[in-house]
Amino acid sequence: MDWVTVAERLFDRGHDIVASGDLLSGVGQCGDTAFTVVGSTNHAEIGVELTLAMAKRVIETMRDHPGRPILFLIDTQGQRLRHRDELLGIHHYMAHLAQCVELARSRGHRVLALVYDQALSGGFLASGMMADLCAALPDAEIRVMNLAAMARVTRLPEERLTALAKTSPVFAPGAGNYVQMGAVDSLWDDDLAARLTAAFRDASPNDNRRELGRVRGGRRLAATIAERAATE
């Protein structure tokens, strides 16, 4: 689904979101609630410019609209793989965005995310994965990297990874596996405005993804080990 359709279905009372290059930004009105919308489109490569632009919107929201919820609309092929971005310290830019999101959360902003197309590793860590609640459209693609590249880097046979991906949520791309593992709260396959309203109402500022992974069976050990590390 393209971002225009997604925005229309999310914001039943209108929005002024615009795409400027790969950046999406604006305000959407869902029921009685206005959301700051920040995101990307065209399977954006997330480089230093886009990261800074997103952080700027989060900061402006904290400063000018205290308490207003923030929605990330995610469509990224991952971080930009360029020498220049590394030279400039892209990890620092992304860390800055992550910190802005955390600060917004601590100041009472609800932070939500919707993967409406594709989400890959680095491009997703500082935005959608920082949200109180991250949802996805059913056909969204979420993954670390493709299996061919993974086979190359790990020097494991691709056939073996492909076989494992059929049975294990750990290896298989796809939003459903991230639901099982607790990183995606739910798949939004019906009334998007109703889903957004419910998420705004129910999202918890505490990171409950390990617990969800345990309950849903896709990531059984993380919650137990973290508990033991915290208490033993």
Partner: protein
């Protein structure tokens, strides 16, 4: 063991903390193994490549995690991530001066794919949340594998980063960029180029790392103690300031293609000599020219 670079995760703990203060949490005897590696026919480790525990550093009570580069390049899997996140949970109930992270990692453990990515995300979030609560998180980077991938973002979220010249910090490693874009984009075998791009000196001059030290355990220890006593909390003022710094950096250096061009702009008349400078000489020369 004098060299931080050469030391193992456990040797670093011994070199950094006050003698006799260390108490390991979930030690190898508890056999906290990765549940995913056996399916790939890969060996597991009883600590999953990270050592966590409590101790004192220059009399300051701290919680500490130390990654073992010798096990899968320090990459973060489900168990390793959960151990680190649990340590941050523990910090909520203890009166500590801060959390110390001795980072050596390629980031997400690809052999655990989705579980690794989610684990790294939980670590990033735990660091940010801890800082918001006013507890400093300080990181040291000076091992063979550097600090890359999502853990590069995690490092960037810390209150202070301490590096040695030998340390490397970035998001996508040179090999990853070369594989994706070709050797013309980034020649990962050109060691000098790699260090001019992600090495400790460049990171220090850019303001990505707060303290540059020699590759000695004692130097890292002293710098960590200093960092624990000087960090600031995360606030709207600090992120606004950071936004400005990063915008200025992009405007000033965004058109350059090499570290040397940036160093010249910073005021080094002979940028080619920067890699040859001793750490204290570089630090002294940089007093007035550092980007941040």
């Amino acid at each position: 063991m004098q060299s931080y670079y050469e030391a193992t995760a456990r040797e670093r703990v011994a070199g950094i903390l006050d003698a006799g203060s260390w108490r390991e949490i979930l030690p190898p005897t508890t056999r906290t193994l990765s549940p995913h590696l056996a399916a790939l026919g890969l060996p597991a480790a009883f600590d999953d490549g990270v050592v966590i525990g409590s101790g004192t550093l220059d009399d300051l009570p701290v919680l500490l995690a130390s990654q073992e580069g010798g096990f899968m390049g320090g990459a973060v899997g489900e168990i390793q991530g959960a151990k680190i996140v649990g340590l941050f949970e523990r910090a909520k109930t203890q009166d500590i001066a801060g959390i110390v992270l001795l980072l050596e990692t390629g980031g997400v453990r690809l052999q655990e794919a989705n579980a690794g990515l989610i684990a790294v995300s939980e670590v990033v979030r735990a660091i940010c949340a801890t800082r918001v609560r006013g507890v400093p998180v300080v990181a040291a980077i000076g091992g063979k594998f550097g600090c890359f991938g999502g853990m590069g973002i995690a490092a960037g979220c810390c209150t202070r980063i301490i590096m040695s010249e030998e340390g490397r910090l970035g998001l996508s490693g040179p090999e990853v960029i070369e594989t994706a874009r070709g050797v013309e984009e980034f020649d990962s075998l050109d060691r000098a180029l790699v260090w001019r791009t992600v090495g400790g000196k460049h990171r220090f001059l850019m303001g990505d790392c707060a303290i540059l030290v020699d590759d000695r355990q004692a130097a890292f220890r002293a710098a960590l103690a200093r960092a624990l006593r000087t960090g600031e909390d995360l606030s709207l003022t600090t992120v606004e300031h950071e936004q400005q710094l990063l915008e200025t950096r992009l405007a000033r250096f965004g058109a350059y293609g090499d570290g040397e061009e940036i160093w010249r702009d910073l005021g080094f008349d002979k940028p080619a000599s920067v890699p040859l400078l001793a750490t204290d000489a570089l630090v002294a020369l940089s007093e007035h020219v550092r980007a941040a």
